[in-house]
Amino acid sequence: MFEVTGPPGSGRTALLGRIADHVTRQGTRLIAARASAVESTLDGAVLARVLADLGADPDRSMTERCRVLLEAGPLVLVLDDAQWLDESSVGWLRALLRRIHRAPVVVVLANAGLGTAAEDVLAELAEDGSVTASPWYVVRLPEPAVDEDRIARTLHLMSDVDITLLRAMAVCGGHFEGSPARELADLDRGLADRAMTRLRGLGLVAADEPRLTDGVARAVLAAMSADQRNELRSRAAVLGHQAALGFEQMSAILLEAPPVGAEWARLVLQREARVLATAGRTAGAARLLIRALSEPADPATRADVLIQLSQCELDHAPEAGDRRLVQVLHMTGPAMSGPRLRAADLLACRENFRVSRRAIETALAHPDLAESEQEALRGLHWYVVSVAGEPAELGVPAVRPLPDSPEDPVCQGIAAWHLARGGRDGAAAVALATRALAVRGPGPLTPRIAAAEVLSWTAEYETALAGIEAVLVDGRRYGARVAVAEAMMLRCAVRLRQGSVVAAAEDLAGVEAELPRGCWSPLLSARHLVLEVVLLLAADLVDDARQALVSEPPAEGAPGLAHAWRLFAHGLVALVTEPETATGAFLDCGRCLLDMGVVNPAVLPWRFFAATGWRAAGEAAHADALVAETCDLAVRWGVPGFLQEVQEFADVVHAVPAGDAASAFVAQLFPGLLARHPVAAGRLLELTCG
């Protein structure tokens, strides 16, 4: 008795063919038959064929049927695909095998190890220890390499139990341990273990752990109908929830499953997305959130998901993210005030100004807005308009102007910022900004950042830093990534003004860690460029600074604030290398700023640097005029701390010599001047000028 066993594709049939050839060549009688899956329920199918070969009558008694074969010896009986033998053929084979010890008969059969009923009987026979058992030789063929084709072929041959288990595992991400696969397949431990052994034998399950091998899950799922898949996945989700699986696994199941229609599903997806996004895997998080949107939720909750999604999409689909926010602004319903305001705030940060302006205008047009929300939205609208410039389109609905001393904290922040840009009434601006910064929580962050910026222009560095740190905490907590990046950048600027170069550099690196360069808006990247150039020049790395200018993509669209900042960065590099040529860039920068209504010299010291350039070029009169203008504006701004800084800076500019000496002077001055507080620079000047 010989048994050839091996998984599908291992070459059993070929081996049997070679044996048959060999037998025939030797002149021994050969009887070959092959069972098939289709006929496995057809009683006596194989037996009838064998008996026909022998020329015997199939209707005789079982004893007779055995005797016919035994008396026909010497012969070799070859049975291929014995796993599909039908019941009475197996019974006959069993009776036969208990009798062949007396007859010159050899039986060779092949099976695939699929765990069918016939194989169970064969296994039992192999273990038979009675006196009539003949020696049983097993030839085990090696496992062939797994490929898609083979998987597909194998799937056709497998038993229901195995298929069920495979499908369950495929739905559960290919895992078995710690997944609802067993419950899903509805198998008890014993059955599942045996099925697993078979699947392992077939190479579909990894040898070291109960996990589907590569490509199997895909093939198994592909072989199911969509309804089957959906049904199984829905059940997997529910079972997984019952078994309180971890979020990672649950969200993987939910991602593919049809809507569950339960709150827990949304929460699991949302929370896993939050964890993924914090780990920087925003694309994955976005997929989960999009899936979360198909679970039922009230408008406010839905808005929350949309807002979270928009922040995840910043990296790979920023415009889609903006659209989500616009969608939130268009939503109506109870408890929508908070989400709408947050969405407006996030949009305001995004500098996709036309989109954000129109969306806020639409939101303002909602008839059932509360007074406070209306105020806050108006404030944000004002911010957007003043960063982007007045709208150039027709039919823009008039939004009431910002009051001078607003009560709403959002408006206070924006109003302070507005006053500060215009360079007027410093004390009032500081008061407004301080009140705007007193707010904590998930509300709009843009006005708080603006207020902190105002304080940085009034030399109130510690208060500004405290405000920024609060923004960072709230921004991180409530997931406002752009605001966090903006706050980091602002902190970098404040620390530069304070003279802490190392801390400033850390912040600037933090900006990039918070928000990848790819999703920076033009203004953000222009401001980043200025800070980067300043830090590089402060470290005396002029070539690197120049390189930074080159690698920065050129500005697109109309000159605006972003253009002004970029020009400022170019001017700085020029000032350090060839001071006499720097003036142009600074003056252009100034024009852009003035065009946008930014008069305050505290925003960017372009006038001083242009004056330095003039002086280097020997145009002392122009230079003096600019310095004088700056001092006048500083007086108008009326903040004592800043005024003092300006005067010290003015002294430095006055000392810049003309001609070739200028270059040396500026080069000597600049790393320190840029890195340190102007006050420190003043001291430096005393040293250099003796």
Binding site: E127, R194, F247, R271, V275
Partner: protein, 796 residues
């Protein structure tokens, strides 16, 4: 009844005799009987071989269950029987058809017929003539599942029922329970057990047990899923009804997927509690998971239990389960209670998740107006941010907001203050003195021996703020208490804390011993030491700088899931690499990990003194600029934090980088800073630095410093440093201090004499010799006898 022969040997003897008689054509009928697997077939086969060699014609046949109805089925396998010396061997005769049996009895008149009958099988009762050889059951049966399943399938329903009941009940299979579970009356049950015994499947004790583990396996394998579910559910109900302990009942509840009865949840909970108390955490978890998988009103509470039990193994999963629970809990107070029951450690793993889940709870609680509750929840939220720079900054701000001398009367306030002071310590932007004072006050409220996570935080805070003395008293008490009542895991955690305290007191010797004992525990099976203890150990290893300890810590089997602890372990890895000679690689690892810790806001220079090692390495590589930058950075931070241990150490590092008088001034500044520090080892190191720096200029002062250093180091138990100083100290300076007798004792000891011999040759007592030697060790700055020779001869 025919005569019976027992055992294989007796049987074989008899068969051989029968064979001899059969040569002459005299027939006989012998039956071999025994349970399954007793070796009947083997005996028959042996006989066949022997008969064959004796020249007999051997005919073989066997019965099969399917062929019982075949008329002459067995006989047909044998016919025609030739004349002469014939031996017929028939296996499994119990399944033979009646005609064949009759035929065989007939043939036995002229041939030797040997048959085997399996006891306990339905057909085993057939009456046969001749002798019976009875084989006893074999203990190591090794039956295959197929044969067992096959055998059981043919048994009548009551027998199968009893087998199933026994398999399902497992260890609790008492006869009464078994019959009741199988739904039989006592008589039927007994009969069924007898049948199983005669099959050899069951032992013959009063309470039947399966003869082999393969048997219950086969029984269970033959049951369908729903059958198993039903049987286990019935078993659970039965055991519950009979008042069995919860864990026995729970075992069956876990095994069934049927809908749980109402009482089941309570039973599972009780069983989980028991398992937890016994330290069988996986079992407890499986009970709780089973309870959780049932839908019901108590599911949320169960999820909380599950989460708490899971904290020791998987903090993230625990947190996620808490999320589920909070979502399901109806009342705000319940949600708050669930959060408060969670161990702190679980809340430190995923900040965004905690903020998403606990943030709303906090807001709700605040609206509720319960100040204590909202402070306690806030404490948790603040703790969750303990590895995030921004949140740590915010915590420090919050601490400042609470004023210089905050109220510590209420437990809720104390919790918040504990967490905030810990955060402030990590970030190190508040004055250490104030933080330490606050932590000291907070510790004053902790009852002696009471060890919880909050107190552990205080211990860390006090250590990092250079005030470990307060913590020392507490850890000692808590440890003593835990030794009496706590589990081994609790003790290990406290020992790790004690090691932390010891190392901040400068007692590296003690710290090393404690740390090693914790690691011994960790190596043990089923030890659960959280990342908290690992963090403490890592800090200890960083400061003790003992290669053996570092290596053991780094190779410990505990999986460190917490990224912060992993970073601190990286610091240890870096230092370890340096100690092993890979200075470049070590420096890289050290700096990377250090910078990352910085970014997390873990900036405490006392806790994480990695820059000192990095400075030394930069200096070695000749990069003085980098060394100085790092040292200055370190010093700036130390000054900001203000703990003397940090300030003194960084001053010393700066001093050793600075040449000339300025350097000496820095070292003196370090000395005076450290004079107020609890860490005496740092002071010793500064004395060493001063001693080395001054030795060319002012020998007396140098010796003085070295001597003070030596005294401190010996006190601290730092053997390596003691040896180092021993070599630094001039041999003669020290030798001069030995008394004449001490010198003689030392000389003899160096010459290799034992204490006994020395005592004898100097005519003094052994005790006196020991005393002289101990004094000499101290004066010479050595720790053991083997070092004496070196100390005497080694020049400066």
């Amino acid at each position: 009844m025919a005569e019976e022969l027992h055992g294989r040997t007796a049987g074989m003897d008899h068969l051989t005799k029968a064979l001899r008689t059969a040569v002459s054509g005299t027939g006989a009928f012998v039956t071999v009987r025994g349970p399954m697997g007793a070796g009947k077939s083997a005996l028959l086969r042996a006989l066949a071989v022997q008969a064959d060699s004796d020249g007999a014609v051997v005919l073989r046949a066997s019965g099969a269950p399917d062929e019982r109805d075949w008329d002459f089925g067995v006989a047909d396998q044998l016919r025609p029987v030739p004349a002469g010396f014939v031996v017929i061997v028939v296996d499994d005769l119990q399944w033979a058809d009646e005609s064949s049996v009759r035929w065989l009895i007939e043939v036995a008149s002229c041939a030797l017929v040997v048959t085997a009958v399996r006891d306990g099988e339905p057909g085993a009762g057939i009456a046969l003539p001749g002798r019976v050889v009875r084989l006893p059951p074999v203990s190591t049966a090794g039956w295959s599942r197929h044969r067992l399943a096959d055998c059981l399938r043919r048994q009548p329903e009551p027998v199968r029922g009893v087998a199933r009941a026994m398999a399902v009940l497992g260890d609790h299979a008492e006869i009464g329970l078994t019959t009741e579970l199988a739904g039989l009356d006592d008589d039927t049950g007994d009969a069924a057990v007898r049948r199983l015994r005669s099959l050899g499947l069951v032992t013959s004790q009063r309470n039947p047990r399966f003869a082999d583990p393969a048997v219950p396996d086969a029984v269970l394998a033959a049951m369908t899923t729903s059958e198993q579910d039903t049987w286990h559910a019935a078993a659970a109900a039965l055991l519950f009804g009979r008042g069995h302990p919860a864990e026995d009942v729970a075992e069956h509840l876990v095994a069934t997927r049927s809908v749980l009865p109402e009482w089941a949840i309570e039973v599972l909970r009780a069983a989980a509690d028991t398992a937890l108390r016994r330290g069988q955490r996986p079992i407890a978890l499986s009970h709780l998971r089973r309870a959780v998988s049932a839908q019901g009103p108590g599911r949320a509470a169960l999820l909380v239990e599950l989460a708490i039990a899971e904290c020791a193994t998987d903090n993230l999963l625990a947190l996620q389960h808490l999320c589920h629970a909070i979502q399901m809990l109806g009342s705000c107070r319940d949600r708050a209670a669930a959060v408060l029951r969670m161990p702190l450690a679980a809340l430190g793993v995923a900040l965004p998740l905690v903020q998403d889940v606990i943030g709303p709870v906090e807001r709700d609680v605040r609206q509720l107006g319960d100040r204590d509750l909202s402070l306690r929840i806030e404490a948790r939220l603040q703790y969750a941010g303990h590895a995030d720079l921004t949140e740590l900054t915010d915590s420090t701000r919050r601490l400042r907001e609470l004023g210089p001398e905050p109220e510590t009367a209420g437990a809720a306030e104390r919790e918040l203050l504990t967490v905030l002071s810990f955060s402030a310590t990590l970030l190190s932007r508040a004055p250490a003195k104030e933080v330490a004072a606050l932590a000291g006050r907070l510790l004053g409220h902790v009852p002696p021996g009471h060890a919880d996570e909050m107190t552990q935080l205080l211990v860390k805070t006090l250590c990092a703020a250079d005030s470990p003395l307060d913590a020392a008293a507490w850890t000692d008490q808590a440890l003593a208490h835990a030794v009496e009542t706590g589990t081994a895991d609790d003790q290990a955690l406290l020992r790790a804390s004690r090691a932390l305290v010891a190392v901040h007191l400068g007692n590296v010797g003690e710290a090393r011993l404690l740390a090693k004992s914790v690691l011994d525990h960790v190596q043990g099976e089923r030890a659960l030491v959280g990342s908290d203890a690992m963090l403490a150990l890592a800090v200890v290893a960083l400061k003790v700088q003992d290669e053996q300890l570092s290596e053991r810590l780094l190779s410990s089997p505990v999986e460190v899931g917490d990224p912060r602890t992993a970073l601190v372990l990286d610091l240890v890895r870096g230092t370890d690499a340096v100690a092993r000679g890979d200075a470049w690689g070590g420096l890289r690892v050290l700096t990377d990990a250090g910078r990352q810790l910085d970014q997390l806001g873990w900036r405490n220079v006392v806790f994480f003194p990695w820059r000192t090692t990095a400075v030394r390495l930069h200096q070695q590589f000749g990069d003085v600029g980098a060394a100085r930058n790092l040292a200055e950075e370190d010093h700036e931070r130390a000054v900001e934090w203000g703990a003397p241990a940090g300030v003194g150490r960084t001053l010393r590092v700066l001093g050793s980088l600075t040449e000339g008088a300025e350097g000496v001034d820095l070292l003196h500044a370090s000395e005076s800073a450290l004079s107020t520090s609890a860490n005496r080892l740092e002071l010793a190191r500064t004395h060493l630095a001063l001693g080395l720096r001054l030795r060319d200029r002012c020998e007396q002062a140098a010796t003085d410093h070295l001597r003070r250093c030596h005294d401190l180091v010996v006190e601290c138990g730092d053997e390596r440093l003691a040896r180092q100083i021993g070599t630094h100290l001039r041999g003669e300076v020290r030798r001069a201090e030995l008394t004449r007798t001490e010198r003689r004792v030392v000389a003899l000891a160096v010459a290799g004499q034992s204490n006994q011999e020395i005592a004898h040759s100097l005519s003094v007592s052994v005790r006196a010799v020991e005393k002289h030697l101990t004094n000499s060790y101290r004066k010479l700055g050595v720790l053991r006898r083997a070092d004496l020779a070196g100390a005497l001869s080694h020049p400066f």
